[in-house]
Subunit: 128 residues, 2 copies
């Protein structure tokens, strides 16, 4: 089950569909995935709660992203057959384990935001 792309070189071959790097990149490629995971990391939430907390997401993209996360086993969807219907979203164990590397990326971006901004300004100044 482990393909050749699970060697250190896997990072170089995004065209291998089995490559874990490629897959996870496809998952977090859109900004919504990471934001939703982050919200659910604080606790379970309903559809409307997620929509309120993730500023600017459309209903279509929220649904679409949640379906993908459910399919990947990162999010569990529970329907309560009340009237009106209530739907709760929660991280699975797998999804919860993704929080740590995502937070590592957040920490990095916070620590380096100043450097990056300064570099951008310098670059733009040097190129008009």
């Amino acid at each position: 089950m482990v393909t050749t792309c699970s060697e250190p070189d896997y990072v170089a071959n995004p065209y291998d569909a089995d490559c874990p790097t490629r897959h996870i990149l496809d998952r977090i490629g859109d900004r919504w995935t990471v934001l939703i995971i982050g919200i659910l990391g604080r606790g379970d939430a309903r559809f409307s709660e997620l929509r309120r907390h993730v500023g600017g997401i459309s209903q279509k993209m929220l649904t679409q992203t949640l379906r993908g996360l459910e399919r990947d086993g990162l999010v569990r969807r529970t329907v309560f057959p009340e009237v009106p219907v209530r739907v709760e979203y929660a991280l699975t164990d797998s999804g919860r384990s993704l929080l740590e590397p995502l937070y590592a990326l957040q920490d990095w971006s916070i620590r380096h935001l100043g450097d990056v901004s300064a570099s951008q300004e310098a670059y733009d100044r040097a190129n008009q």
Copy 2:
């Protein structure tokens, strides 16, 4: 310089352009960025080397991505005025520090690839 979005809640507001989460997501949003950083993590490389190692990337996207990384101060571009011209790309200190969180994500994806694949198959089976 630290905005309100640097509180734990920043993850919820991708519409704040100053939000570090939003910025880093925009950077690694395309799959090429992470792949190029990964390659350069093993050592400096020339344009044609990168193009060979990052399978399937077009010359346009390679140039475009490298420019963005240079602007963000993650990659340093050095031109050797020989004939024909030689251009070397290398990670800056900032870019090298990004390797660790990126590898954390790779490790996660390798460890969970089996779970994710199984979940996908189960999901697809349950929904035709």
